[in-house]
Structures are given as C-alpha cells and as structure tokens.
Symmetry: C2
Subunit: 471 residues, 2 copies
C-alpha cells in the first residue's frame, strides 16, 4: 500500500497548502470533481461574472433617469456562458495538470474515504476507483454540497441548482426559485436583469434571513417590486409540464414556470468520509469538528473550509488553509507554536441588487447580548455621491457599543456595499473606536465612503478637543 506524508482531501482552499515548505513531503491529493473547488467552479467566481453582466444590463435599463435614453437590443446569453467558463474551465484543468506534474504529489480522482487505520497508527484511505494508501497526516478540505429538499427529489421534476444553472442554453422566460438566501437572491438578480420573469418561493416572511432585520425587510420590499416573492410558501409537489414545470405549494396554490432553480442551502461533506474510522468526530449535520487550531479530534488530522467551518465563505476557508499550512508543520501538541484561527470579524456580501455587505453583530444579536448600543441608519441619498447616483435605496446601518465606543456591526445595502464595508472591517479588527475612525482620517469628498463617515458622526458626534483620552 502506498504511503504519503500528507493526504489532502479536496482541492478548493485545500489545494493552497502546498508551498515551498512542503516540497520534501510526499503528498496525496484527492479530488472527485474538477480541481479548484466550489468557489472557482460553481461559486464566487462564475456567479460574480454573471452578476456583473447583470449589473450592466440593469444600468442600461435604469439609464433614463440620468437623462440617457438607452435600450438593450439583445442579451447574448451563450456568449456570457462561453466567456465565463471559457476562462474558468481551463484553470481547473491547469490546476490539476500542475499538481500531476509535481514530483512529490500524486492525484487521486475519485471519491476518497477513510478506512480503519493501520496497526502502526497510519491513517488509511480508499478511493472509489479502488486505490488504497496510508498517510501520517490528513487535511480534510472536502467542502460542502448543494442540498435539495426531498419534496423536490421525490417528485422527479427536472430542476437546476447553482451547480448547473450557469450552463443552461438560454435565459428562461420565467424562472421559479425555491429558497430566499444569498444564492437565490444573486440568481434572481442575474436572470431578472437579463430578461427573465422571476418568482421566489420562500418559507419565511423575508428574503435573506440571518441578515439584520432592517436589511432583510427593506431588501424584501425592494425585491417584491421587481420579482414575485411568495413568502410563507413551501413546495409540496412539482411536475414537468410541457417544457416547463408546475409547482404545487403546501397551501394548495399552484405556479407554472419554465425552469426551476433550487437554492435551499449547502451542507458540509463530513458525512461522506467514513471519518469515524480515523477517530474524526463529525456532527449530525455533517460538519467535521475542529478546535481553534483547525485540529480535528484525530491526532494529525486537520480540517478547513466548508466541511468544518461555521462560515461557508471562501475568505474564511483561505484563512483556515493558511492556519493549517502553518500548523501541519508544528508538533501536534505544541499550541504555543500553532497559529489559531481568527473568526472574530468575518464580513460577507451578497452580490444581488442592491448589493449587500455585513460584518459583526446584527442589531437583534447585540440587544440579545444585553449590550448598550447606539444604532444609525444612514441613507446614501444624504451624501453627495448618493445624490449623484440619484440613489433612493442605499443604506449603511452601523451599530456601536455605547460603553466602549467600538463598532459592533455594520450592515450595508446599496452600490459598492462590499467595498464600503472594508474600512469598518478594518476598524473592528484593530479595535479602532468609532469616533476616532470618523475624525482621525480624511474621507474624500464627494466619494461614496462619506456614507460611513456620516453614519459614524451621527453615532458619535465630533470628538472633544483637547482629546481627553485615547481609547
């Protein structure tokens, strides 16, 4: 049986571990799909390429209010698909070829799972192709997978998920989306802007649950003006009708459309690994249990990314991969030398319309913790650049701890939200008090970050002079 120093299961962020410090290690890399993982192949990267095209289409449709009469003559969907995947697919192939050409690396291309460990304490793995090998250390970076409700799979209706919808041959006339999270809202924007009628079926009252209430409710109100949002609806049955689908909801209502997209979330792949053979604890939801050093419950086995993280976010997986990259080379028990993961202030964004970004606590979370807080919702339309954009929807909601003066959370909906939030992330990460952040730096007039400046000033006022005390 072949033996490796390290086996890495999954080539998303897991593939970034092997830097020059690992050239002496004999490494097995296991990837059952194409190289590069969710982000590159079916996640962040291609979706944002579609979203940007949708943003442009939206700008054309919206140009008249700026005095520009414009129109779309055609949306060349197949060209968009070719442009996106003509760029991405070669990267996945190139990534695999690069690893296959590395003298110290062997690539296994089918699903890999644990077998009982060997008597000498080596971990044993087996691929669906029948390969078997052992390894001293293992990195579980097996990611997550789309989950589809049984009501959908049971009825045999044709459906798409985020894995497949970006390669469909043409824009559907009427797209029905089951789900109301970020994937649902991004694709609703993409297809709506590119010409589809869009209907969203959601179980709850609002889209983007888990976001701050003000964002979720305002976004849902905006969405309802351009998409059909059927809230408090759940799919009970569905069937193929002609070239389309017919959905029956639990309340008996029916709905016909041309295509069904299921966007009801992702589950970690920890349940697919027979990890108990190695002593790796996996939660009931399929999440590999790790400590702050990304160590699983089995000595020598680390995990990172969607398979083990509370965050299904590429920037978190990348951070955890850097942690594992360092910790793999340390003694398992030497927590002094090991790098801990930092999950203190993790921002995220939804590239829908309008764009949304958040970091830290929601207002409800902050209140539930019993914190004394101050909250400001700043309209984009109150700053010069918001004027220039004739903006009517953008808001930046900031939450400050009244006792410490530190920012607790930020929730931005509007143009450039995913960029505007970065100074707030930076302030939170480096414990910069909100009042100092407001006045200790210049904010370009009339640029859009003035939204953040004004929110901070509304919360904290002008700092006193002479400064009594730096926090």
């Amino acid at each position: 049986m072949a033996h490796f120093d390290i086996a890495i299961i999954g080539t998303g962020s897991g593939n970034s571990i092997l830097d020059e410090r690992y050239t002496d290690k004999k490494v097995a890399i296991c990837e059952q799909n194409v190289f590069g993982g969710t982000c590159l192949n079916v996640g962040c990267i291609p979706t944002k390429m579609f979203v940007y095209a949708a943003d442009i289409a939206h700008d054309v449709q919206d140009a008249a209010r700026y005095g520009i009469d414009a129109r779309i003559d055609a949306v060349r969907w197949p060209d968009i698909v070719s442009r996106v995947f003509g760029r991405i697919d070669p990267l996945a192939v190139g990534g695999e070829n690069y690893r296959r050409a590395s003298p110290n690396v062997e690539v296994f291309s089918s699903h890999t799972r644990f077998r009982p460990s060997t008597a000498d304490g080596r971990y044993a793995l087996r691929t669906d192709d029948g390969d078997e090998f052992t390894a001293d250390q293992v990195v579980i970076a097996a990611g997550s997978r789309v989950t589809v409700p049984e009501a959908v799979t049971a009825c045999g209706v044709p459906y798409h998920t985020s894995d497949t919808i970006m390669r469909i041959p043409e824009v559907p006339e009427h797209l029905i989306i089951v789900g109301g999270g970020f994937v649902a809202c991004e694709f609703a924007h993409v297809f709506s802007a590119l010409g589809s009628r869009v209907t969203l079926l959601i179980r709850g009252a609002t889209l983007l649950r888990g976001h701050d209430d003000d964002i979720a409710s305002r976004f849902t109100d905006l969405a309802a003006k351009k998409w059909e949002v059927r809230n408090h609806h759940e799919l009970a049955d569905a069937r193929k009708v002609g070239d389309g689908v017919e959905i029956t909801c639990q309340d008996g209502s029916k709905l016909r459309g041309d295509m069904l997209l299921v966007a009801t979330g992702r589950v970690p792949n920890g349940d697919q690994l027979d990890a108990h053979h190695a002593g790796v604890k996996v939660s009931g939801s399929g999440q590999v249990v790790v400590d702050q050093y990304q160590r699983t419950t089995a000595r020598g086995i680390f995990a990172l990314g969607d398979v083990s993280s509370d965050y299904q976010l590429k920037h978190v997986a990348n951070h955890e991969a850097r942690v594992v990259k360092h910790n793999l080379l340390q003694d398992w028990d030497d927590t002094e030398a090991m790098m801990p993961s930092n999950h203190r202030y993790v921002p995220s964004a939804v590239f829908t319309d309008p764009q949304i970004a958040m970091v830290g606590l929601t207002e409800n979370e902050a209140r539930a913790k019993g914190l004394r807080i101050k909250v400001k919702i700043q309209d984009y339309s109150d700053v010069a650049y918001g004027w220039a954009m004739e903006d009517t929807v953008g808001i930046a909601k900031l939450i400050v701890d009244d006792d410490t003066g530190l920012l607790l959370g930020a929730h931005i909906m509007g143009h450039q939200a995913s960029s505007l939030i970065q100074p707030v992330v930076q302030a939170m990460a480096f414990d910069l008090p909100a009042q100092e952040m407001a006045r200790g730096q210049y904010w370009i007039h009339p640029a859009l970050p003035e939204v953040i400046e004004n929110a901070l000033l509304a919360l904290c006022g002008e700092p006193p002079w002479p400064p009594s005390r730096r926090h």
Copy 2:
C-alpha cells in the same frame, strides 16, 4: 458703523462655523456670489452628478463586451442640467434664507474687503454696496477663483470655464479643452461619454501632472485612445469662427472646434481683500498665510479653505472649518486649548474615466526623500472582481517604507478608486503597518478591495507566526 463679534467672508465651508455655541455672537456673513461656495455650486457636487450620468452612458456603450448589446437612443442634456441645478440652486437660496432668518446674523451680498482698522483695534470692512462695519474677529473663507491665461482673455474669444460649462444649452459636437488637470479630465470624460469629440491642449507631456508618474502616464495613454491629446501645445491665439472657435498654438498649428473650455487651475482669492489693512499677510500667489491653528498674521483673524490652504479640496476646507470653529472660541494665545489642523494624509480623487484616487507620497517624492521603499502595482485583473469586470486598465500602486513597514502612499486608477483607497487612508492615519493591514482583517472574496489586499501581500508577504513583534 455697525459692529459684529465675528465677520465671516465666504459661505462655502465658512458657512458651517455657526453652530449652537455661536448663537450669542453677532455675526456678519459676506457672500458676493450665491451661498454655498465652489463645491456646492460649481464644483464637487454638480460635477459628480454630471460624471455619474457620463459613467452610465459609458457603461451602455461598453456593454457589448459583457454579452449585452445596448445602445443610447438619446442624451437629454437639458434634462441633465435641469436635474442637477434644479436640485442645487434651491439649496443655495435656502442656505441664504436660513442665515437671513437668523436673529444674530446679518448677510452682506456684495464683495467685501478690509479697510484700515479702527483706533480701538476693531477690524473694519466695507462692501461694494457701500456697507461698512467692524468686527472683533474675522474668518477669511473667501475661496478661490478660476484662472484664465491672458492669451485667452486678450484675444476676446468666447470661452467657458467650470463656472459656466455645466449650464450650456447643448452638448458641443467638438469640445476643445485647454488644460490637463483634474477639472479638464473630469469634463473631458463627461462630454466625451455624452457624445462630444474632445481635444485636450496641454503644455506638458502628460495629463494629471502632480500625480504619481505611473498613474499620469498610463492615464494619458488611455486618454489618447478616446480623446485627442495634444501635448506640448500651448494656446497662442484664438478667435471666434462662425459658431465655433479656432485656436492657434505657439507652434503655429491650428485647431477648430465648437466650444472652448479653459481649465487651467484656480487661484486663491486672498488678493481681493485688501487684507494688508488688517495686517493679514498674503503670499504673492494670493494665498492667505496661516499657521497650524489656522491663525493669520493678524490677531483675531483666521482663514480656511482654498483662500489659505495648500489643498483645494472640500474635505480639507471642512476640516479647517471645524478647527476654526473651535479655535475662534479660544484665547488667541492659548495654543494648548487650540486645535491644530491635521494635513498629514490628505486623499483626493479625480472622477474621470477611469477614476483616480491618491493619498500620501508619489514614488518620486518618496525616493527624493531618500526613503527605502517597496513598490507594488497590482492589476485589478488579477483579482476575482476584476475578472468579473473584464477589467484591463485598473491598477493599485502602493508604496511602503521598508524600514518602518508603514504605508507611504497609494495611487489607484480604476473602478471605485475613490472608495478602495479609504482603508489605505485609514491605515496611514492610524499608523497601521502594511503587513498587519493585509492579514489582520478579512477581505471579502470576491469583492474589489482584494486588489488592496493582494498589493499589500505582494509588498509584505505573509506575517510570521508567532508574531515576533507588533510594530
């Protein structure tokens, strides 16, 4: 002769001084033009409203490369003008009415200048309308004015400046712009995107001199692809020809166009005040001399903004106004109680195409200071969002001090430049080392600020673990 506690000359940033602490003061406000100053009436605010319309027009024209075939049917220039000034003009009127309604304020609506002070040490002022009054304290916030070369004024050719061009009745077919600074480049973008052919006459080799060389040269190369850039050209003579103009350059070359825009800079209005009567020192260029507390050379007289500042920037004028607002209420000699101005890291932006933002030193400035520096030019196209945008021109150039690890300057050209620079401004203002900035916070994937993250990492590498020392 009427007497006031405070006289304020100019209602740009000067108009923001009177907060609740000043309700007991008797105040004269002098404004020879409409209320609000350059920024509101002929500067930042209206130009950015035109620029945003131009950005939208540009997006429509550029949509095809994203798979969206779009076209502009019409640019409704008069509607753009109405929208912009229909919003701004009432603000100027409202600002004046508000002051006129204040019981402690008197407004003087003609040009105001100093007369010899009275025997008891009060400053004496006189308006062109013949009003005379005295004041204990004076704030000179008289701003700057457009400067036009004598070669233009002498020949009697009709021309526009930034004061007038935004109210012209229609988009000119061929606009000739004299000058290559930020005003020239913003209007070149506006009129080009809205349909004009644009020719720029510049004396030097590149547009945007004073910016980092890489920015100026790359921007000039881009500009030359869509505008006619005649560098090393200087206007010698010009005349009206039919409905248009004919320019003769010093090398004898001629050029015909439909309209002439002169954008050759602004000069401070310090020369218009007879300030010597009050003992206020004014430089040969018309700039009122101030110290770090915004005090002029005359006891009790402060100055702020374009009339006295090295920066013709609204965010700087606003900062200086906050300083004066505080210092006016302190004892003139009590520098402990007085607030100093902070001009340490002043960012600025040019809202042209592509957008440009900068802060701190240029590479040449840093090298001239003998600093050991590291420089990175990061392409937008190397990050995911740059991909999504199919970006080919965006760059972020960061300069780090190799001895201290601190950022010395940032120069960004591309989409959202004026927003992307804010985290860098914040890092510089709070002395955050570049390496900590890179890895001490999360950067949303795949948002555009990853351009900054990647530039930082390229400069500083991954931080060591355990951290040897926090800077």
